[in-house]
Symmetry: C2
Subunit: 192 residues, 2 copies
């Protein structure tokens, strides 16, 4: 089956190429977070990732392409596979997002992205794609029972609870808080 | 009446000193956001703010003190004055937070702070103080009607909806979305 890596369908791509691309994109995100935007040069990324500068150039002609793909790789977040039970599905999907925030440098990466969009407005599109993908399942699960601004509000509240906790409290919410957030939402829509 | 500036009670402080401190702290936050942590030196801040290096040293002996106070100044966010009507109070307070996100460089400043806490764990305390102050009124308004993990969840959801929208969607939520978020919360607790 075809699977997506960095936005490309890679069914017929040499696994070594996939590995190389992933190594370089992971390094790019790390350098961006640790050393900032100016440190992302083909030369420096090649050196840190342990590849030749030519290899990096071969995949990404510009720094902008490299940075864009490094962030888009964050789209490959796991998502919960819905079971049909709304409470279970919401809890599982929000928990999956929480785990992503906890295990990956996702909160910091998103912060770097937010700061960069001021200097590089072309990254707005990258942020929007990440957010749309990230919110999709929560929105789809709620769409049969909420609509309009209430659907928007509930999606922002469930995703925002995780983001706010991870970023501002320094740790993502616990299982009990996630369950309470979902239960409050279900009670609001008469589905408890 | 005594009022707090940068964490200090300034009832008897010369207004010129207050202005100087505010100028320098505002400049520090701006330089931190635009040029990064390394650019925050007494020399550079003095130059950008238009004061002597001695003045900056006179108020803040170390870069860490200067950076801490620059962030703590964000605590001087306006808050809604409660009327006693829960729906009105929640909507007004969440709207006040939204306005803060919109008019001040608050979203970006918080992102810079989140990124810095990795390199400078002493800023954890600053972040915690900002968050506690920021959430206080929402939490107090909900405390009579929710408790435990549900109080925690609802606070995270209301504050998180604004943060998530401002940071991840690139604009804070509209009035209609804020009203929907509050109405969902009130419906969940049987107060609609």
């Amino acid at each position: 089956m075809a699977r997506k890596v960095g936005g490309r369908t890679t069914s017929s791509v040499d696994p070594r190429v996939v590995r190389t691309r992933n190594d370089i994109l992971r390094t790019t995100l790390q350098v961006l977070m640790d050393e900032g935007w100016d440190a992302v040069t083909h030369q420096h990324i090649a050196q840190v990732a342990g590849y030749s500068k030519a290899t990096v150039y071969n995949h990404w002609r510009s720094r902008a392409d490299l940075i864009r793909d490094a962030f888009l790789r964050l789209r490959d977040m796991p998502h919960h596979v819905p079971t049909g039970d709304l409470r279970t599905d919401l809890i599982q999907e929000v928990t999956t997002f929480r785990t992503g925030m906890d295990e990956r440098p996702l909160a910091r990466a998103l912060c770097v992205l937010v700061n960069l969009t001021d200097a590089a407005p072309e990254l707005d599109e990258v942020r929007d794609r990440l957010v749309t993908d990230g919110e999709r399942l929560v929105r789809e699960l709620l769409a049969p029972v909420l609509h309009g601004t209430e659907l928007e509000a509930a999606t922002l509240m469930l995703c925002g609870a995780v983001l706010h906790s991870a970023m501002m409290h320094g740790e993502p919410p616990g299982d009990d808080v996630i369950a309470s957030a979902v239960d409050l939402t279900l009670r609001a829509i008469g589905r408890n």
